[in-house]
Symmetry: C2
Subunit: 222 residues, 2 copies
Amino acid sequence: MNNHSSKLKTQSKRGSPAPLVGRDSGKRDRILEAAVKVFAREGFYNAKVSQIADAAGVADGTIYLYFKSKDDLLISLFEDRMERINARMRDAITSETTAIGKLERLVHTHLDFVQSNRPMAEVFTVELRQSAKFIKEYANPKFGDFLRIFAGVIAEGQASGELANDLDPPLVARALFGAVDEIALAYLVGGTRKPHNDLAQAAKQISKLFIEGLRTDRRRTP
Amino acid sequence: MNNHSSKLKTQSKRGSPAPLVGRDSGKRDRILEAAVKVFAREGFYNAKVSQIADAAGVADGTIYLYFKSKDDLLISLFEDRMERINARMRDAITSETTAIGKLERLVHTHLDFVQSNRPMAEVFTVELRQSAKFIKEYANPKFGDFLRIFAGVIAEGQASGELANDLDPPLVARALFGAVDEIALAYLVGGTRKPHNDLAQAAKQISKLFIEGLRTDRRRTP
DNA sequence: CGCCACTGAATGAACAATCATTCATCCAAG
DNA sequence: CTTGGATGAATGATTGTTCATTCAGTGGCG
């Protein structure tokens, strides 16, 4: 197989080439950062490996010292960044004691991330779906973790009686993620128009919507 | 510009080639149907024009008699099918009198469509995002209409006092769409596992969640 | 009626780029 | 001197698009 592979199927030999801790460590990170920028701007399929190499300040071939293929580069990007996001999410809810408080935090944190990390958010929002469909082999466990954080909070809330227990936590988790993700997409694509533009405002509304939909105590907060 | 264009940028000369009502009409439709199948299976970028031609039973060149480019084919597909979906959605809510009833119908109808029209649903769920990002020029008005159906119902419900009016209808519309879309994605990708698999069940839960989150009368229905 | 020129839809082989990937070579550090 | 990370020009498979050619259907004409 030569060029134009990119069937986004998981590469056969698992794992990227050896970590390569040689000369200039940190080169792998530079490449990942460059990839974020280029993927965000061009989209995965339109992004050229040479563009990424340029942006990273390395030679084309160097990328293949750290990543098995263009596909592997994308996958590695997901793994790496998703891990950070999950950490941030878990971190955000430690201070909260109620499930409702945690849900609010999750939504706000997610949209904060979108706002403060636009390029990465674009990659996630747009390319993650492709991966979901094409990297079948690639289970994308990190994204599963992400959803599980949401589902966990909901399940806790149900257990404590704070939330009604007639809804399936994993399903609600997906729905909530989908809602927030779609808002993020509108924000990222739409540029600077509409009130949707105000992500903080949007976060408030989405939180309220879901919390009102979930809580047992049915008194709308002012 | 020769090959590998596909920047998904709107084609310069607007509109596909002349309708071509000549010899075999219906050929355009055959091509569109073939495109759905192939795009669903391979994804837009991995789909070869020749595969579509094969599936449609026409020659490669024939496709360019009906569509300006591969990109144009995808756009045309969106336009064409989205129109049908919108019609179906509008149709589904005519019989309902309450906003709440309409919302339920919309969610169920959407997920019905996913279940009964898998290939097209895959294309929409996965490729529509790309288009949102890359076909900037292409406003995708039909998708706007789709969202407006949801927003309209919510606004009506607010006006009639049926729904609380502290949430922005377009925002909620997006959120609801996002939630349903994500459920659809999980269903389409996940194959046959989990309770999520039961889309009818999922539709019920999502409806309930949003309706409870929106209604003014805050008494949870059994 | 039969024939022929004409139209334009359809074809598909050929074209022209494009790009992911490779690898012979270089060179800095140990 | 040796090692192995880095380079980037070269490769060659791939594929969107074109266009010269084919040919079925049409209608004018004798």
